[in-house]
Each structure stands twice: as C-alpha cells, then as structure tokens.
C-alpha cells in the first residue's frame, strides 16, 4: 500500500464524515430532516449517483505497487480495469470502431494500400467488421446486461437479507423504488459498458490511442479531489472570517475586509501560476523525494487545490459578512445577549446555523465551477499535471481537434457526460438537503 497525500486527505475526510454521522445518530432534532431527505425521491436518486462517483473515486484512491508493470504505482481501480488500461491503440479511433479514424498505408495481401488500418484491440475478434459489428455489439450488450442484472439481484438480496437480520422489520421507505431503479441502472450500465470495453473502445480512443472511457473514469477522482479538498480549504477561511467580520465590526471587520480586497485585486491566475511553478521548482530540487511520476502529479494536484482554495474564499466571505451584519441585529440575537449567552455560543448557536444555507448553495455552485476552473487552468498549462487524468485535460486535448473534419467529438462528449451527471446530482442533492434543514420549509406539512 502506498499513501499519496491526496489519498490520505480523502480518507481522513471520509473518517471525519463517518465520525460526525455516528455522533449525530439518534439525536432527535436531526431525525426530521433526515427523514425528509430519505423520503425525497430526487434527493435519494442523486445520492445514489453521488455515492457511485464517490465509490469509484475511493477505489481510485487506494494505491499500491503492482508486481507486473515494472513496479509502477497503480490504484485499485486501475487493477480492476486492467484490460482498459492496456488496450492502447496507435491514435484516434471512433467509439465502437474496428479501424483507426484516419487512413494509413497498410499492407493488404502483400500490397501496400491507402486504407483504414484495423485496431490492435477494438473489434479484434471480428473477421469482417462491416457485417458482423452490429450484431456482435448487440449480443455483447445483452451479456453485459445479464451480468449486471445478476450482480444487481445478488447485491440487493444480500443487502436486504442483512438489513432484515439486523433490524428485523421491513423499512417504510418512500423513495425505495426510485432508489432501486437508479441502482439497477447504474449497475447494469456499468457492467454493460465494462463488458463491451473488453472488446471495443466504447468512447473511442484519443490522440495517443488511450481509451477515452478509461480516462473519463480516472478523471472522477481528480474532479472529486479538486471539488472537495478545495472546498475544505476555502470553507473554514470564508466562514470564520466572514462571520467574525460581520459580528464584531470595528477593527476586526476593517482588517478582514482589507485582506480580502487585497487578495481579490490580485488576478487569481497569477497566484495559481506562481504557486504551481514554485511546487515544480521545489520538486525539481528535491528529486529524491519525488521519484515516481504519480507522486509528482499528486503533489501538484494537492497544491492546486490549496491555492484554488486560498484564492476563492473571498466571494463567500463577503456574502457571509453581509448576512451576519443582518443577523446580528435580529431580535433573537439581542435576546440571547440579554440572557447572558456568551459571544462564541451566540456565534455557534444563532449565527452559524442561519448562514448555513448560503454556505451550502455556494459550496455546490463552487464545486461545479471548480471542476470547470480546472479545465480552464489546464488550458494555460498551470492546471493539474498533464499526466493526471482529468476532465479538464480531456477537454483541453479535444479542443485542438474541434476544427478537424470529420470532427473528433468523443473525448469532449465523454468528459461532458461524466461532469454533467456529477454536477447535476450534486446540485439536486444540495437542494434537497437545504430544504430539509430549513425548518421554515416544513410549515405546510
């Protein structure tokens, strides 16, 4: 086992979340919002989708040295999808293609001809791709579907049996069918795609012949890391400074405003470029500590998260300061003062819970914009390491081929689909969570 820096942080975060969940278990006030979330169909479906992304991301966060592949560091996910990783072609090929995307000189029956060469892996088992392909794809999809179906049945029956043995009652669960259906979709679609990719490149291949589907899956971890770690850096700064500035006014306010206006007036790209270059120089000077490519890429990713976090807290801080300014004049805060409640208790009890809706909304919006920001930064070469798989790098690579005729569309589409599903699920889930935790929305129940 090898723990990269981001791996450690991700698992720490996971532990903290589990800890919080355990601490809150069985607490009366938390029960109602939780029931509301579990009863919301949209919320539960998006949760299932999110959990699947997190699952893939976590699989991709367990790294070890592989015995073959000349001692390279690979993740558990890499190990699971080894065929995908190994099936490298020469250059571009379209989804489900059996030939390359451009013509080359190929030897046919001893004669050199200008034609589409066959792929090394995609559709290799076919003798005549033209006539056999459609039927073969259909047949393979059915097999994939059936495998998925079997996996689904096993998993759900195991789960429900376990649940029944532990709890000994049938749960009352409003969103049961939507959850089952979405789980079913995820399991069958992924097993279908997985089975098909043993024989084809379902999303085609990119310029150096790498499977785009593999890239898209690997990018999930990068997206999640950038989204969550950056937020983790940003949130404490924004919340602490925003609330303190709004609540105490006076010189505290002046100081904090001074800091964030100064920070805001420096172009974020400059700061990011500077810090990424600094890390690179550092790594170049200490080569002994950063022996493998993956360790270096990981370090760069971590620093990108840090610096993105440092540059992006100001917007939320400003919002929170304004909201706190409003809240501190509310009568319940004055009543708390009259009751002799201490300052920090007022901040925690009265101010913080009442600004959480703003935090939640802006975190989710930021999450999506951070994933996008990564794409933009890759464009000017200060984003994640070029060897790291990320949707940004995929888009950046695809950008150059947009003008090509016929167009190479699959890298962009794959990145778009994966990103879209993640961001949409996160948005919908955040909506539900926000509604559930707002007691005022429960008036008409």
């Amino acid at each position: 086992m090898i723990f990269l820096w981001t791996d450690t942080l991700i698992f720490l975060l996971l532990l903290v979340l589990i800890g919080i969940a355990c601490a809150l278990r069985g607490k009366e006030p938390i029960q109602r919002p939780l029931n509301k979330i579990t009863n919301s169909r949209v919320g539960m479906v998006s949760l299932v989708v999110l959990l699947f992304y997190v699952f893939v991301g976590l699989l991709d966060s367990i790294h070890f040295k592989s015995n073959h592949d000349n001692n390279e560091i690979i993740s558990l996910l890499d190990y699971c999808v080894t065929p995908l990783r190994d099936h490298n072609e020469k250059t571009y090929s379209a989804p489900f293609a059996a030939t390359l995307y451009s013509k080359e000189m190929v030897a046919k029956e001893g004669v050199m001809q200008w034609d589409f060469p066959r792929l090394a892996y995609g559709g290799k088992h076919l003798t005549d791709p033209e006539s056999e392909k459609t039927g073969d794809i259909f047949q393979k999809s059915m097999i994939g579907f059936l495998i998925g179906f079997a996996v689904f049945i096993t998993l759900t029956s195991l789960f429900s049996a376990g649940y029944y043995l532990l709890v000994k009652k049938v749960p009352k669960f409003n969103a049961l069918y939507p959850v089952l259906i979405s789980f079913f979709c995820i399991v069958t679609v992924s097993s279908l795609l997985g089975y098909l990719s043993l024989y084809y490149h379902v999303f085609g291949t990119d310029k150096v012949g790498e499977d785009v589907f593999y890239q898209a899956i690997k990018s999930i971890r990068t997206g999640l890391v950038i989204g969550t770690l950056t937020t983790l850096v940003m949130l404490p700064l924004a919340i602490l400074f925003g609330i303190l500035a709004g609540f105490f006014r006076g010189w505290v306010d002046d100081l904090i405003q001074y800091i964030y206006t100064t920070l805001n007036s420096i172009p974020g790209v400059l700061l990011i470029a500077a810090s990424v270059l600094m890390v690179q120089v550092y790594m170049a000077n200490h080569e002994a500590e950063f022996t493998s490519v993956i360790v270096r890429a990981d370090m760069r990713l971590l620093f990108l998260c840090l610096i993105l976090g440092v540059t992006s807290w100001t917007g939320l801080c400003r919002l929170l300061r304004a909201e706190t300014l409003k809240l501190r004049e509310m009568e319940y805060v004055q009543a708390a003062r009259a009751l002799g409640v201490k300052q920090h208790a007022i901040l925690l009890q009265h101010i913080l819970p009442n600004v959480m809706h703003i935090v939640l909304i802006s975190v989710v919006l930021d999450f999506s914009s951070l994933v996008l920001a990564e794409a933009v930064l890759s464009y000017i070469n200060i984003g994640v390491d070029p060897t790291t798989f990320s949707w940004g790098n995929m888009i950046n690579g695809a950008r150059l081929e947009m003008a090509r005729e016929p167009i190479v569309w699959w890298s962009l589409s794959a990145a778009f689909i994966f990103m879209f599903v993640l961001v949409l699920a996160a948005n919908l889930f955040a909506d539900v969570v926000q509604d559930a935790f707002d007691p005022r929305s429960a008036v008409n129940e």
Partner: protein, 536 residues
C-alpha cells in the same frame, strides 16, 4: 335605497383546491358610504379584497355567483378589461407605506405614472394634476415635495402619497387595506379624517379593511364582521357596536382594551426595584474622511424614573420618540447608553464583560415581533433553555428539561411544544414562548417592548392577562413600552410619557389618562379611537 356600487354574492375562495379561506360571503358597498370589513388576522379580509380585483395568487380559485361593479360582472371580464378597472374604477391602498413605494423614484414621478396609466395627458397637464392630487391629500408644500424620494418622507406622508396614487384614476371605489396599522395614533387620526374628507368631496365608495374595532366605529357607516372566512354579522355601525348580536362580535368587543379599566387599580407603595437616573443614549454622527464626530443624535436625553417591585411602569410615546432605544440600552444591548441604572442596588452600567453577563438574569426583554425574536433553526425547548444554560450552568440536563416543561406549562402552551420549531406556532403562542424564555432565568424585571402590537385583539387580551397573572404570582416588575394608551390602562400602575427622547410627564395611570396636564399627552389621548356607542 340607492343602487349598490359593488355587489358581492356568494363569494368563496379556495386555496390548493381544498383549503377554503373565504366561505360563501355576500355584501354590498353603496356609493358614498364607508363600508368596513372587520376581523382578526387570517380571517380572509384581504383575500376578499384581492379576489374582487382578481389579483389572487395562482393556487387560489374564486367561486362566486357574481361580483358586480355598477351592474357589470367582474368575473366575466377578460384580464385586459380588468386592467382597465383596477386603479381606474377600483383603487387599492396597502398597509405598509414603506414597501409600497419605489425607493428610487421621486414621489412626483410615481403619482404621474399612475395618472398616465389612465389618462393620456400632456406633460404639463400631468404635472398640474400631480400637484392637485398632492394638495388633495394635504401633503405640506406639494410643489417642493414633488421632487422628494420616499425615504425623505415620514410614514404618514408616505401613506398620503399612496392615497394620492390611488386617487389618480378617479376611482368609484377605494379599498383601504389596514391603511393606518403601521402609523402612530395621532397620524392615524389625521389619515382617517383625510380619507373621510376625500370621500365627501368625490362621493366615491370607501371599503375599509381593518382589525381595529375602535377605529372602525369612528369612521364606518356599515360594518361586516368576518371570522374564519365567514361574515358572521353585518349591520349599521351604530347598531352593531351598541347591540352586537353574534357571540364572536361580542367577544371581540369585550376583548377591546378600554381606557376606563385603570380605575380599578389598587395603589399601594412598594420598594423601588429599578432606579434610572439621568439616563442618556446618544448616537454619534460621523463625518468626513477620518470619521470625525460632528454631533449626536439624542435618542434618549436625560431620563429618570423608578419602578417598584411587582409593579408596571408603562412607557408611552409615538414611534421615533426613543422608547425602544431606552428599553434596549437599559439592558446594555446597544451601545451609547450612559447614566445610572440600578436594579436592586446594583448599577448595571458600571459593569462590563463577565460580571455584567452574570447580572443579566435580573432583567429580561420581550420583543414586539414574535417572528424575528426566535431563532428559526432552534427547537422551542432549546430556546427556552438557552438562558438557563448560559446563566445557571450548574443545573443538570434532567432538571433543565423539567424546568422548561414547567415554564411552557406556566405560559399555557401544550406539553409537546419543546420539540417543535417556532414557525409551527401562531403569533400569540410565539409571544408566549418569548415570555417563557424571559422567565427561565427568574428575572426581577422584564422589559416588554410592544409585546402585543403585532397581535390580534383577542390574543392581545390573553397575553395581557398572562402577564398580569405572572406578575401576581411571581412579583415580577414590568417596563411596558407601548404606543397604545388603551393597553396601558389595562396593565400599568404608572405611566411615563416620552416625547423626543425626554420624559415629559410621569405619574399614576388614572391621573395621566384623565387629568393630564401636558398638551402632548392630551393630544395622544384625544387621538385614541374610542368605541363610539359604548359609553352609554
């Protein structure tokens, strides 16, 4: 009998297909008369007015046999035709003059805009008409005021502008939805007489919607009493108030605080609890780059009074006189207070930090708005327990829970209230929670900052009764801040009248109310709307 101006027959309004807000009501408004629709909040008065104008939200449906305006059925009109009726034939004045005017347009432009909606006049003619209207609503110096923005006007002046806008279309019927609720008593009297005068001049119908029975009795010709969407009684103003038929009307009338009620007070001397001497609260006005102090707003300017143990001092005054500032700065909740505030011999303003916090238990406060005075994200139990946790940390969790449920019981709330959120309660119940929160730390004095002015009459009577019971049982003193002299008569032992930051008159309640010497106090008492037929 003359032909009716507006005739509503069997009107029902249903929300979300099952929630009936207005239930099968019929009434007429005649030209030149003042018709008043009276009821407590949530009885469906405003919805009735909006449904006549067909301005209801989308989830509401109107079921009525007919709503006719001088013979035309409004329900059969198209939306375009309704647009020509709204403002032109029927005009509406809302309760809150603060939010009804556009803050970035001058009032002249806003009145001109309303005129343009209905009459295609040239620019100079419009200007002329704006001036006429502003004169008609008796806005002082209309030719100068025409270029003012809403924030430059007082509340009463803003309401006058709203009336001018409503009159711009020369309507046949003017609907006034609680036109004076957010105004001071003296201003309220002025606005009402203005409405009455304009009605006499133009001969339009005036449909007044109000919760204030006393006010209605002074101005209306005919009154309909509404309860839970049903009109329970209709009648001429005189008959209805002197001989109410329906039990609900009788209940409303009896709940009305009366200025006579102070005559039964028993005066007995007790030890002083709170001594306030020469108390000031100044706000600095800062100017220039270095925020140099250029002067002070004297919100409270040298106030002295004492409150005896187990007694109530009422602090009376119009909005802006500094009474709320005084209440809050006595508790050290806002900066700028200076002077001696001794409670039981301890000077609160000489303390600060931790020692002040420890003394907080002595004095508590109840606010006016029961909706913003509780954290919406806290359970009622936690809200009530907050003070105990902060000031008596030695009390264990079990004991605290017992104490909270005892307190909730004392203020008359159901036992399961502790595990509910504030928004699940009505205004009166929320005010009870606030009282329980204040009682939790066993205060000697509670500052009640207009605790009943956001509540309905019958609820107000209940809250006053609760406060009195608590005073009798626990010997708490109250500093009762209010603008409503009738409520004062119910609860207070002494009155202090405040005007522009100073106390101008102070004394026993019956002395102030009936033998006042000061001009301003007399004016306040005179402006108080009284039930006209009640004093037989």
């Amino acid at each position: 009998m003359t032909k009716s101006l507006l005739q509503v027959e069997k009107l029902s309004v249903v929300f979300n297909t099952h929630h009936k807000v207005v239930d099968d009501i019929s009434f007429d408004v005649y030209p030149g008369e003042t018709f008043a629709l009276v009821g407590e909040s949530g009885s469906g008065k405003s919805i009735t007015a909006l449904s006549v104008l067909r301005l209801l939200p989308n989830n509401a449906t109107i079921q009525a046999s007919s709503i006719t305006l001088t013979g035309e059925n409004l329900l059969k009109k198209t939306e375009l035709e309704m647009c020509r009726i709204r403002g032109r034939r029927i005009a509406l004045i809302f309760q809150d003059p603060m939010s009804s005017l556009n803050p970035v347009m001058t009032i002249g432009d806003q009145v001109a805009e309303a005129i343009h909606q209905h009459f295609p006049l040239s620019k100079s003619d419009t200007q002329q008409r704006v001036l006429e209207l502003l004169q008609q609503v008796e806005l002082p110096e209309p030719d100068k005021r025409i270029k003012d923005y809403p924030h430059q006007l007082s509340g009463g002046q803003r309401q006058r502008v709203m009336i001018a806008i409503a009159l711009a279309g020369k309507p046949d019927l003017l609907i006034a939805d609680e036109p004076t609720t957010s105004l001071d008593v003296t201003i309220q009297a002025q606005i009402l007489s203005l409405l009455k005068n304009i009605q006499k001049e133009t001969g339009m119908g005036l449909w007044l919607i109000s919760h204030d029975l006393a006010l209605v009795s002074t101005i209306a010709d005919r009154v309909a009493v509404m309860q839970k969407g049903i009109i329970v009684e209709t009648g001429n103003s005189g008959d209805l108030f002197s001989r109410p038929q329906h039990p609900y009307t009788q209940k409303l009338l009896s709940a009305l605080p009366s200025i006579q009620s102070c005559l039964n007070h028993i005066a007995e001397q007790k030890l002083p609890l709170l001594e306030v001497d020469d108390f000031h609260c100044y706000y600095p006005i800062r100017k220039g780059l270095f925020k140099r102090i250029a002067g002070y707003v004297r919100a409270v300017d040298g106030v002295s009074f004492t409150i005896q143990k187990g007694k109530t001092l009422a602090l009376v005054g119009e909005s802006g006189c500094g009474k709320t500032t005084l209440g809050k700065s006595l508790l050290n909740l806002i900066p700028g207070g200076a002077g001696t505030v001794k409670i039981d011999g301890i000077d609160l303003h000489a303390l600060s930090g931790e020692s002040l916090r420890k003394q907080r238990a002595n004095m508590q406060i109840i606010f006016q708005d029961p909706f913003s005075s509780m954290n919406p994200r806290m359970l009622v139990g936690d809200i009530v327990a907050e003070g105990i946790k902060a000031l008596f940390p030695e009390i264990g969790e079990e004991q605290r829970k017992d104490r909270v449920s005892l307190l909730l019981e004392q203020v008359g709330l159901p036992g399961d209230s502790a595990l509910r959120y504030p928004h699940e309660f009505s205004g009166g119940q929320r005010q009870r929670i606030c009282i329980a929160r204040a009682l939790a730390v066993r205060p000697k004095l509670i500052v009640c900052d207009e605790p009943t002015s956001a509540l309905d009459v019958s609820v107000q009577a209940q809250i006053i009764a609760l406060l009195k019971t608590l005073q009798r049982e626990q010997g708490i003193s109250y500093l009762f801040i209010t603008h409503d002299l009738a409520v004062v008569a119910e609860i207070a032992d002494e009155i202090a009248v405040m005007y522009q930051g100073k106390i101008i008159e102070q004394g026993k309640v019956e002395k102030i109310l009936f033998e006042s010497e000061h001009e301003y106090t007399k004016k306040l008492i005179a402006a108080l709307p009284k039930l006209e037929n009640n004093s037989k």
